[in-house]
Subunit: 260 residues, 2 copies
């Protein structure tokens, strides 16, 4: 079997968000990631891989895959978004999970306001998965979770969280009606080390340089911040948003003794 | 004034670690970073910038600069390591700080074993500066701190910490003789949430995929880990090292009530 011209065009065109949304498909790359997606029984439409990779794959992982296309390294290189492609890539169907407020009533969730850097979104997903946070609500102007750099940075954690795109203002209005707390990470909030954190609520993180949008500020019920141990005015004006996320998730975990 | 052929060659050659070490010089780029370096009175050998940038610069910041070279955008583009260069870059003298064990006797320090990703090193420097950690000891096979991607990711925090390259095994031998604790971040250590953390010691973080080198393990006096709230075997095997660093620095800060 050889990679058809059509398939080549499809894979390359899926680097564009518009096409991904039209086709409801996205591409993942890398041996470990592809194996994890197969093991997790994600709907893989096409598995494009070198014969060595395919031969070493357990039969059970091939079951349910739409089509399996053995290719040479040169063919893989043609369609890869990486400089040095791995041995496998897969075209995956987007899940059709819809955001339901019931998801957010219990436990912790995250809301991301206009996160622009793919590495940051991927890292936040990875941290959320580590700390057992299941639902991430992104504002519509956040970077696309199916961007290949986001998937790469998330290191497979995307399999363990739900990522929704939604209008955060409407979401927070609904949340307020249901007495869901909104924890806003601000530079002038109260120290997370002494603040009484609850077991449930939404942790809201803002854009890399502008922080949380003005129109979302009124919805914040709890203003929290990570204390800085460096002199003010020293030029260290903020932690990177994904580091801040990790620290905040960790502190919620520690203070509540949260468990699986 | 025009950028001479020699200067162009020097700036481009400083993208190589070998040349940086020979010349004891490195390059920083970006308006904010260059301004911060000038304000911090770092030894700037050459300031290469567009006239608008130079005109807006306070006189006091120009004092002490070896040479000031006004250039056009096209000239800047020739020497920049960025796709779209900013308005200024500077050639900076490396500081001549030598590692002294006395630096590590009081307060917290960090040791990094074979950190490879420039973004990770930059982010760890940024987190260290935020949490008031002054000294970072890198193993000799860590990525170079003067790599432009490290400096970019550190967002100016490099001005507030000392970064040393040294043989960690020898350092830890000396540290042991001085009863300095070595906190190793491992996957099977004790939970940082319940472990008694001291106010001083060295936090040791390992390589992105292999963790801490085997030969350094015996020097660890305290084995710590960040509890995971996700099922084991789920494919989420580790936090990114810079996220782990942020969480650990934060937890040392919280638990000791550390202050400036």
């Amino acid at each position: 079997m050889v990679l058809s011209k059509n398939k080549i065009n499809l894979i390359i065109s899926l680097q564009k968000k518009k096409i991904r949304e039209e086709e409801k498909l996205y591409v993942i790359e890398g041996d470990k990631l592809v194996k994890e997606f197969l093991a997790a029984k994600m709907t893989v439409k096409s598995l494009v891989a070198k014969p060595e990779f395919l031969n070493a794959l357990p039969l059970v992982h091939k079951k349910g895959v739409g089509e399996i296309i053995p290719v040479s390294y040169e063919e893989l290189k043609k369609v890869s978004s990486l400089k040095s492609p791995h041995n496998a890539l897969a075209i995956v169907q987007m899940p059709d999970t819809k955001l339901d407020l019931n998801h957010l009533l219990k436990g912790l969730s995250v809301a991301l306001d206009c996160i622009q850097d793919p590495g940051n979104l991927g890292t936040i997903i990875r941290a959320a998965a580590w700390f057992g946070i299941k639902n991430i609500c992104c504002s519509e102007n956040c970077v696309d979770v199916y961007n290949s750099k986001v998937i790469q940075a998330s290191m497979g954690a995307i399999l363990h969280v739900n990522v929704f795109y939604t209008d955060l203002q409407s979401l927070f209005k609904e949340a307020a009606g249901n007495e869901i707390r909104i924890y806003g990470a601000l530079l002038e909030g109260e120290s997370i080390y002494s603040y009484k954190l609850c077991e449930s609520g939404i942790i809201l993180l803002g854009n890399e340089s502008r922080g949380i949008s003005e129109e979302l500020i009124p919805f914040i019920t709890d203003r929290i911040m990570i204390p800085r141990l460096h002199q003010a005015g020293s030029g260290i004006d903020s932690l990177n948003v994904s580091m801040a996320a990790s620290v905040i998730f960790s502190e919620f975990t520690r203070s509540k003794g949260r468990q699986l």
